[in-house]
Amino acid sequence: MVKKLNTARCFLMFGITDIQIVIGYLLAIGFALACIVYGYVNWHNGGEDHGS
């Protein structure tokens, strides 16, 4: 049972067990996704602004 849990844990974290590294990867990917979402949501916003 313990072995099964460990295997599942390794698999879920793609073989990395240090939580600090896992959080780092999740945040890096999360920020990249946030960039995509931000760009998509604001795709047509700000076009009228010429700054003058």
Binding site: C10, G15, T17, D18, A32, C35, G39, N45, G46, H50
Partner: protein, 522 residues
């Protein structure tokens, strides 16, 4: 290397022809000074994103910091967190939109020009340009060295010829085509880098038997940590170093914070926000820039750490040992040893593209600092495009001279130093300029001076990685560093940037209490 030299030369020649072609388009489109300085403020959002990303990611991020990941482990991924979260999301959304708006309103065409006009201060414009002129050649020289070493080893060109030839090719399109040529070529180079890094990630995992298998094998190497690294806090290549150990402090303060925060105040990146016509372009660029930077740095750091698995499997030694002890040689050594010939060519092009895209932007920024900002302040008149071009030539020559004087394993270190200096000197004043309705010139000047001075003092007298080779501390105090551990491994940025913020806040508070205006004579 095993790649057919003729194929490599042919592919490189095609790439260079494309670069020259784009440079020529930039040259033809450059009619006025504003075209040369801010690309006519008409750049497409995708070009902005790729140009920003390709300038941001030099050989340093791929080879230098990829090498550091091989040395220190996957903890460098925290730099990617900051690169994407701060370097793109925060930089574009919080800083980029305001910079574009204020830049357009004031007619600013460079970072020092933006600061000088927003604060109505010639001192701030000239001090900003002087910091660029003094600090940027170091970073530029490191990029030049990386590119020249790469050309030397892959194309069998003598180092001196490679260095001069590399600088001359980039110089040609920067001098003639200005920022339009720089950003167009950046976009091409960014595309090549994206292809190269994607293939690198896929082939590495295929090579090592899959994602989980590769990471598991990396974790299993923790019993092979050299005693010296273990004593410094290294716990393995798939885990963070021990908290507050010397390696942890180096990783977090120098690499993660130094570069992660430093990027916010990079003059060559900030000027790009002023090249687009409206805020919509910045919104769209965010969607491209975030994934681009993730693929650049995330792949470099992941593959960097995994090179240890490859070299242990094939040569029975860790990556650093396999690369002859030079951190900058780990990634090239891994590519040459493990990848198919075609990929070696693609990746080498990606490296060349990374070096050229950053180099061209640095040449342009240094050139405008001399040939526009300083000239404008000294002569008190708007200069011609020819003067800016001459300034660019002067700074390119200066960078080549500096490149001959720098030691080895310098790429990542020089990047950290320049980014640290820029952040310490510029960031508080830059934020104040963007978000204050009546920015205080006095507070900005004091913040800039305190940030730059503290950064220099800490670099020259405390931070061992620089104070020892510089030798000033040894000369004046008879010791490589005047403070002991752990201060010797705490990056100058970590000390100088907060003090620069405190100086700004302190002066603003004093002005409010004393009822003083923040204006000072221009």
């Amino acid at each position: 290397m095993a790649v057919d030299p003729l194929t490599l030369v042919a592919v490189t020649a095609v790439y260079l022809l494309m670069v020259i072609g784009l440079g020529y388009i930039g040259y033809k489109k450059t009619k006025e000074h504003d075209d040369y300085l801010v690309a006519g403020r008409k750049i497409h959002p995708v070009v902005l994103a790729l140009s920003y990303g390709a300038t941001f990611i030099s050989t340093s991020a791929i080879v230098g910091f990829g090498g550091y990941a091989a040395y220190l482990g996957m903890g460098v991924i925290w730099l990617t967190v900051l690169n994407v979260g701060i370097g793109i999301l925060l930089a574009f959304v919080i800083f980029g939109k305001k910079t574009r708006e204020i830049g357009h309103r004031l007619g600013a065409v460079t970072f020092p020009d933006l600061m000088g006009k927003q604060y109505s201060s010639r001192f701030i414009q000239s001090a900003s340009s002087v910091i660029i002129i003094i600090g940027m050649p170091l970073y530029t020289a490191a990029i030049l060295i990386g590119g020249a070493r790469f050309i030397e080893t892959t194309l069998n060109v003598p180092y001196d010829s490679a260095l001069i030839g590399f600088a001359a090719i980039v110089a040609a399109y920067v001098i003639l085509g200005g920022l339009i040529a720089v950003m167009y070529t950046d976009a091409l180079q960014g595309g090549i880098m994206l292809v190269g890094m994607t293939l690198l990630l896929l082939l590495t995992y295929i090579h090592l038997g899959g994602v989980v298998e590769a990471h598991t094998a990396l974790q299993a190497l923790s019993d092979q940590i050299p005693a010296s690294l273990a004593a410094g806090g290294h716990t393995g290549w798939a885990s963070m170093p021990a908290f507050a150990s010397p390696i942890w402090l180096t990783l977090i303060t120098s690499i993660v914070l130094g570069v992660g925060i430093g990027v916010l105040a990079q003059p060559q990146l900030i000027v790009r926000f002023m090249t687009v016509a409206n805020t919509k372009a910045i919104h769209r660029a965010v969607a491209v820039g975030g994934p681009f930077i993730l693929m650049m740095t995330g792949v470099a750091f992941t593959v960097g750490a995994l090179t240890n698995v490859y070299f242990i499997k094939t040569q029975g030694q860790l990556a650093l040992t396999a690369a002859g002890g030079n951190i900058d040689s780990i990634i090239p050594a891994y590519i040459n040893a493990s990848m198919p010939d075609l990929f070696v060519i693609i990746f080498m092009l990606a490296l060349l593209a990374a070096a050229m895209s950053t180099l061209s932007s640095l040449f342009h920024t240094m050139g405008t600092a001399v040939g526009y900002d300083l000239w404008t302040v000294i002569r008190q008149e708007r200069c011609s495009m020819r003067v800016t071009q001459i300034g660019t030539v002067v700074m390119i020559i200066a960078s080549v001279i500096v490149a001959y004087g720098l030691p080895g394993s310098i790429i990542a270190r020089a990047t950290v130093m320049f980014m640290g200096l820029c952040a310490s000197a510029f960031l508080p004043a830059y934020i104040h300029a963007l978000y204050s309705t009546r920015p205080s010139t006095r507070a900005a000047i004091i913040s800039l001076v305190v940030g730059a001075a503290v950064w220099f003092i800490w670099t020259a007298f405390v931070h061992l990685a620089e104070s020892k080779p510089l030798g000033l501390s040894g000369l004046l105090f008879g010791a490589d560093a005047v403070l002991g551990m752990p201060w010797q491994v705490v990056d100058p940025l970590v000390i100088a940037l907060p003090l620069s913020f405190v100086a700004l806040a302190g002066v603003l508070l004093w002005e409010r209490i004393a009822g003083k205006s923040g204006d000072v004579p221009a």
